[in-house]
Structures are given as structure tokens and as C-alpha cells.
């Protein structure tokens, strides 16, 4: 009897276990099917596309490379908006711009935006924030529009370093009257071209898009091409070991390291360049079928890199010139050198180094550092993803080995000084974007002609801020036998930096406002005379110039905690300028001032009104946009 009871108990226990297992499996199945059914309809989605397998598939075999990519800002270029990805200050915020008031509210796991005209009582219907751009310098929010997967930009961006909101139009160098940076649908029609991996814009009608992407952000397959064939082939361990032991290239996947310089550069250049479509047909093809470029190809297929001085695509470049007259001015200096950041390929391709056929972005940068600790990866990501020692002369000496032995005879500066660092002379800060200046990636030698003919600040005067173009011309003549060009009286007597800051276009002014914070320049040019110019620039009509003047002022003694709302109205800006000028005049000015006349200040530190007023009247006020 006991035996029967015993076996009966066993049966019921076994039955219970089976029932519990079935319930668990059913719960999993229902969870999966419900998540599939809840695919969002109000934003672009990540979906299976062709042979794209997503970074999750790469992770198992390439954990180190996955880790470095995961730590990079490429990954977070576009993210679905969740409480984890949105910057912390994005809930319960109220902001005003261009006559409208905006409210950001967190409800559960989502953030919503509603807006109203100033003076109106009620906010309009809330719209969900669905996607985010950026996590390094800025974070920009994108809202649902009620038109399928079409997105609309939230008009404010969050400046991460400053922990502040600013109108998007004031986070790029844009004319003050600009009220809208990107219109509805711009993300689907343009931004996503480079901010996701293999996007399909899929235009529907009107301003409606049915956008999908292989993966949000710039993921593995953006640079290595589709992974399906690679994964299928390498399931075979014998194949893998054959590749390991023979150190052979794996032809099933693209790898910029194995490419020649031009192809390797184009892997980055597919996004980091000023590019245009070959024609309307390729643009439509791009929108409906996605990009045809794959890493390793010699050209961008449906697109081309716009190099103003090259002979290729002349019909397309003429078309651009006719239909968008400011296209070149807003992106290039007069001699065709790129002047905006994020488009470094234009500079690299025009560099003499590039002509050798081996030089490419990864000659100095690396996407997958060997050390994969969190600290090391964070440091690498925040230092421009440079390879080890590439923040030193070694970047150039890896090819120009002979220079190491004759460094000072070449540079005419002390070996340890900033003037003997290759990149300070050959890659000066002449590109601008995202509120800061960046080094030019067109390797060149400083000369006065570039400043005279095209207005581009030369490397010498970007460091020797207090010196004239005449001074630079003389030095370059003595040291490198460069001919001394004909110079105006101003160029002989007034600091080049002062001229660019006061009478230059907004791009030049922004470069100088930023450049006055550059430590080597402050060290060699003196800091005392910079105050009045930076304080003056706090009133610049371009917000980007005001921002950089503010940040540069904070690098000067006595102003490190200087508070300034660069987006404020004219009255508030004026009050801040008055207050800071008084502070400088009474507290920071030297006890026995004797300012250099080249700075256009009188010995006491006041602007030489005749000179300053004239330069100010000559200011280049032609509207300019330097979008990143």
C-alpha cells in the first residue's frame, strides 16, 4: 500500500513539474508575441534588413571590439528615448523660444513635449519624445508627429558639458534670425543618412515617412559591411583556425585596416565628409532602397565627396552652386579647404600625405583599442579615439622619420614648446562646429596668403594672437623663404587675431573667440589684453560666438566662475557685459597697464576708438551657417 502511495505521489509531483514548465514556456511565448505586436508605430524602428545582423551578433566572437564600440559615441549617435538614454535633466522642464513655451514631462517610462504660444493658458496635446541624437557634446530630442514614423525636432538641445538647454539654432553657428534648425521630416529625409546603420527613409507621401533602420547609432556593420556571410562562414571552426594560423585576411568581412588609404578613408568618409547625391534618381534610390556604398568600395556609389577644387562631378557641383549659392561658403574656405567639423575626409583627401596611397584616418585614429578596461575606453572615446602616441609628434614622425633629428632647425621653436608640435603648425584649429573649433584635417603649412586671400586664420597668428600678419610674413620669409605678400597698413600694425575677431565673418569670429582660450596661445600672447575682446564678443549677434567668448573668459584669471546666459535677450546680455567689463577694469587690469598698440587698445586698456570703430564697421555681416 505504501509502495502504491509512494508511486502515486511521485506521479503527481512529476505532473506538477510538467504543468509548471508548460506555464513558464507559455508565458515566454506570450511575452515574445506581445513584444512583437507592440512594435512602435510613432517612430522609426530597427528591423531586419538584408544581410545585416546587428552588433549583438558580433559580440559573441569579438567581445573586445564590441566593448570599444559600446564605449564610443558612435553607438549613442541615435538612441531610442528612454529614461536610461535621455539626459537626466529632461523631465519637468519649461523652456521658451521664438514666442512659444515648451514643457517636457515624464510620464512613466516616457517623456512628452507640449507647447503653447506665450500668453496662452493651456498647453497643446503632448507628443512623445521618441528618439535622441548625440550623447557627447549635445543631445537633441525628436518627437512623434502623428504622421507615421515622421519625426519633428524638439527646438532645444541639451549642452552636456554645461548642463544647460539652449535653442538648437544657438548650438550651431547660425544667423541670429534663424528660428528653426530642422523642419518636420528632416530626420527621416536627411539626418538619418549618417546617424544610423543602413537606414531606409522610405518616403510615403506628403511629409510622411515609414522609416526603418538596420540598427540605431553607428554600429559594427556601418564600417564592416553586412555580417551575414561572415557569420555563416565562420561557424566552421576549421575555417577560423585556418585564418588564425595562416594570419590570412577574411574576405567575408570588410576591415579598414586591410584597405588601401583611399578606401580606408572612405569608410569614415561615407559620413565624415561633405557629400552630395549624384542626382535626383540616386537620392530617390537611397531613400527607398538604402545606401549602396559598402566599406571597401572606391567611391560612395550613389553619392560623391564634394571637393570644390577637384575635377570630378563638375555638373553636379555646378548644379549645387546654382541652386544653393551659399553651399560652398557655408562649408569651405575660399581655397576649398573644409571649414566645418565632422567632415574631416574632405581635409584628409586634400592633404599631401593622402597622395601616397597609404595614409588614412586610421593612420592616427583607432576604433578598437587593445586595452578594454572601462577607464581606458572612456579616456579613448573622449580623446578623439586617437591611437596611442597619436596625440604627439609621433603621428607625423611615423612617416616623416627624418624630422625627429632636425626638429628645432625645422620649427625654429624650442623642442619642448607648442611651436615644435607638428600638428600645431600643420593642423591648426580652423574648422568649427558644435560650438567649438577643431583642428583642420587638411595637413598644410602655414602661410600669410591663406589669411589674406581666404580669411583663414593661419597657424602662426592663431598662437601668436598679439602679432600682426606682417610679423608672420617676415618670420615665414626668414625661416622658409616664403615671399612676403603686399600687406595693408592694418596688416602691418594691428594684430591679425584682433582683426579676425572684430571684422571677420561669424566663422572667423567664432574661431578666435574659441582660440583665445587655447593655452599655448594665452601663454605666448599674454592674457591681460584678451579680456576686453572676449567681453566685447559676449555681445556678438551669433550665439555660437557668444558661447565661445564666455567659455574663453572662464579660462582667464578672475573669471573662472563667470556666469553668463549666452542665449539671453539683448538687454540681459548688455547688463552682463557691463558688469564683466567693470569687473575687469577695476579688478583684473594690471596695476601699471601698458597695452601693446598692436592689440588696438590704448596703453590703459581702452579700445582705440578710431581703429576699433573702423574695424567694427568693416565687419563681414553676410549671413553664414556652419552646421556640423
Amino acid at each position: 500500500m505504501f509502495k502504491r502511495l509512494h508511486s502515486g505521489l511521485f506521479f503527481w509531483l512529476a505532473a506538477l513539474v510538467v504543468v509548471v514548465a508548460v506555464v513558464i514556456v507559455l508565458m515566454d511565448v506570450s511575452q515574445h508575441s506581445s513584444s512583437a505586436a507592440s512594435t512602435p508605430t510613432n517612430r522609426p524602428i530597427a528591423a531586419q534588413e538584408g544581410d545585416y545582423v546587428t552588433s549583438n551578433s558580433c559580440r559573441a566572437c569579438h567581445p573586445g571590439n564590441y566593448a570599444s564600440w559600446h564605449a564610443s559615441f558612435h553607438r549613442t549617435m541615435t538612441q531610442v528615448a528612454t529614461p536610461a538614454t535621455l539626459i537626466p535633466d529632461a523631465s519637468n522642464v519649461e523652456l521658451s523660444f521664438a514666442g512659444r513655451q515648451y514643457k517636457l514631462e515624464r510620464r512613466g517610462g516616457n517623456i512628452f513635449v507640449s507647447d503653447r504660444s506665450l500668453g496662452e493658458k493651456d498647453y497643446g496635446p503632448p507628443r512623445q519624445v521618441v528618439l535622441l541624437t548625440g550623447s557627447h557634446t549635445l543631445q537633441i530630442l525628436w518627437n512623434e508627429t502623428g504622421q507615421g514614423r515622421t519625426l519633428e525636432q524638439f527646438p532645444f538641445a541639451y549642452i552636456i558639458a554645461e548642463k544647460m538647454w539652449a535653442p538648437v539654432t544657438q548650438t550651431f553657428l547660425m544667423p541670429p534670425e534663424t528660428k528653426e534648425a530642422y523642419s518636420i521630416g528632416s530626420w527621416n529625409g536627411a539626418c538619418m543618412d549618417c546617424h544610423v546603420t543602413q537606414g531606409l527613409s522610405k518616403f510615403v507621401e506628403g511629409n510622411k515617412w515609414d522609416t526603418m533602420v538596420a540598427e540605431f547609432g553607428i554600429a559594427c556593420e556601418a564600417c564592416h559591411s553586412e555580417g551575414r556571410e561572415h557569420i555563416d562562414a565562420n561557424r566552421n571552426p576549421l575555417r577560423r583556425w585556418k585564418l588564425h594560423l595562416t594570419k590570412s585576411d577574411d574576405a567575408t568581412i570588410a576591415n579598414a585596416k586591410r584597405m588601401k588609404g583611399p578606401e580606408s578613408t572612405l569608410v569614415c568618409g561615407q559620413c565624415h565628409s561633405v557629400w552630395a547625391f549624384n542626382g535626383m534618381d540616386t537620392k530617390l534610390d537611397w531613400n527607398q532602397s538604402g545606401g549602396k556604398f559598402r566599406p571597401g568600395k572606391e567611391d560612395l556609389v550613389q553619392r560623391f565627396v564634394v571637393q570644390p577644387n577637384e575635377k570630378d562631378h563638375s555638373a553636379q557641383k555646378d548644379f549645387i552652386r546654382r541652386t544653393e549659392p551659399d553651399f560652398y561658403r557655408n562649408r569651405f574656405w575660399g581655397d576649398g579647404m573644409i571649414r566645418v567639423t565632422g567632415r574631416e575626409t574632405n581635409g584628409v583627401q586634400e592633404s599631401p600625405c593622402f597622395k601616397g596611397g597609404n595614409f588614412s584616418c586610421i593612420s592616427c585614429h583607432e576604433m578598437h583599442p587593445t586595452t578594454t578596461t572601462r577607464v581606458a575606453l572612456d579616456s579613448w572615446a573622449r580623446s578623439d579615439q586617437l591611437a596611442p602616441k597619436m596625440d604627439s609628434d609621433q603621428a607625423c614622425l611615423q612617416c616623416h622619420k627624418e624630422m625627429a633629428a632636425r626638429l628645432t632647425s625645422h620649427t625654429h621653436h624650442d623642442a619642448g614648446s607648442a611651436g615644435s608640435r607638428c600638428y600645431n603648425c600643420h593642423m591648426p584649429h580652423t574648422t568649427f562646429g558644435l560650438l567649438h573649433a577643431m583642428r583642420s584635417h587638411q595637413v598644410s603649412s602655414p602661410n600669410v596668403r591663406e589669411s589674406l586671400d581666404y580669411g583663414r586664420p593661419n597657424a602662426c597668428n592663431l598662437c601668436h594672437l598679439n602679432e600682426t600678419l606682417r610679423w608672420t610674413a617676415d618670420k615665414l620669409n626668414t625661416w622658409y623663404q616664403q615671399p612676403v605678400p603686399e600687406l595693408s597698413d592694418d596688416d602691418k600694425t594691428i594684430s591679425a587675431a584682433v582683426q579676425w575677431l572684430v571684422k571677420g565673418d561669424a566663422g572667423q569670429r567664432a574661431l578666435l573667440a574659441w582660440g583665445m582660450s587655447w593655452e599655448p596661445a594665452q601663454k605666448i600672447s599674454g592674457r591681460d589684453w584678451l579680456y576686453p575682446y572676449l567681453i566685447y564678443s559676449l555681445l556678438d549677434p551669433y550665439a555660437a560666438v557668444r558661447f565661445d567668448a564666455w567659455k574663453s573668459l572662464q579660462t582667464l584669471p578672475g573669471f573662472s566662475d563667470f556666469k553668463f546666459t549666452y542665449t539671453a535677450d539683448a538687454e540681459a546680455l548688455g547688463a552682463a557685459v557691463k558688469q564683466s567689463y567693470e569687473k575687469w577694469w577695476s579688478e583684473m587690469r594690471p596695476a601699471n597697464p601698458n597695452f601693446d598698440p598692436k592689440t588696438a587698445l590704448d596703453p590703459e586698456g581702452r579700445f582705440q576708438q578710431d581703429v576699433f570703430g573702423r574695424l567694427r564697421r568693416e565687419r563681414d555681416d553676410k549671413p553664414i551657417v556652419l552646421a556640423e
Binding site: 566572437c61 569579438h62 567581445p63 571590439n65 564590441y66 566593448a67 577560423r240 588564425h244 578594454t372
Partner: protein, 147 residues
């Protein structure tokens, strides 16, 4: 050949080796050695962990084998089975450990090819050992019936 002593001696020495290896691995954790812990060295960490686990377990299996030979009356052990158990205890963890020293991104080094050989030896050894027990005798049967 006294197989019992051989397996006991091997088992205890192997256990000593893997205790030492465990200390080394703990030390690498303690000092956060990137060569072992970095995400990029995930495969090395996995291989060393597997090597340590299999080495320890197979050391214990050899000790159990020695005790079984000694304690079970009429146990018949073929020399090849004894060889297989010891060989498995060397090749299986050894393959993992060697494979962990030199890695190819997501793949262990070539030493890992010792692992399947060790696994086959282990299978042969365990099955052979199970077959080494004497058939049920009348005495043992009647003892069970009494229960």
C-alpha cells in the same frame, strides 16, 4: 600495478595543482589584472575558468576512482580505462588552459583542440569504469531482498 594508489596519488597531486591555479586566478581578480579580466580578454577568462573547473573535478574523479578500486570487491579495471581517466584529467583542463593563453579575439588558442581529445578519453574512462564493477552476486541480491 596498484591502480588504486596511482589514481589516488594522481588525484591528490592534481587537486594540489588546481588549488594553486585557483589561488592564481583569485589573485588576478584581486589585483584586477586586465590580461585576465578585461572585456577584450573574455575568452581567456572563460578558458581559464573552464580549465580550473575541469581540472578540479577530474582530480576529484581520480580520487573517487582510486577509492572505488580500493573499496569495491572484485572491481575489474582495464589499464586503458585507467590511462583514459588520467589522460582526460590532463588533456581536458590542459586544453582549456593552453587555449586561454593565446587567444584570437573570440576564439581560444590552438591548445583548445586538446579538449575534444580529453573529452573522448573521459567518456571512455567513465564508461569503462562503470563497466568495471562486478556483476551482482547472489549474496548481494539476497541482502537487498532482506531490506
Amino acid at each position: 600495478m596498484n591502480y588504486s594508489n596511482r589514481h589516488l596519488r594522481f588525484g591528490w597531486w592534481a587537486l594540489a595543482v588546481y588549488v594553486c591555479l585557483g589561488i592564481v586566478l583569485e589573485t588576478m581578480h584581486g589585483f584586477k589584472i586586465g590580461w585576465y579580466l578585461d572585456v577584450g580578454n573574455e575568452v581567456r577568462r572563460l578558458m581559464f575558468t573552464l580549465g580550473h573547473f575541469h581540472g578540479t573535478m577530474l582530480a576529484l574523479v581520480n580520487i573517487a576512482a582510486g577509492l572505488t578500486i580500493r573499496g569495491v570487491e572484485g572491481f575489474r579495471l582495464r589499464p586503458s580505462v585507467s590511462f583514459a581517466l588520467i589522460g582526460a584529467a590532463i588533456l581536458l583542463p590542459g586544453g582549456f588552459l593552453l587555449g586561454g593563453f593565446f587567444t584570437y579575439d573570440g576564439d581560444p588558442g590552438s591548445g583548445v583542440w586538446l579538449v575534444p581529445v580529453g573529452a573522448l578519453l573521459m567518456l571512455y574512462g567513465v564508461v569503462g569504469f562503470a563497466l568495471g564493477f562486478p556483476p551482482k552476486t547472489g549474496e548481494t541480491m539476497s541482502r537487498r531482498k532482506k531490506r
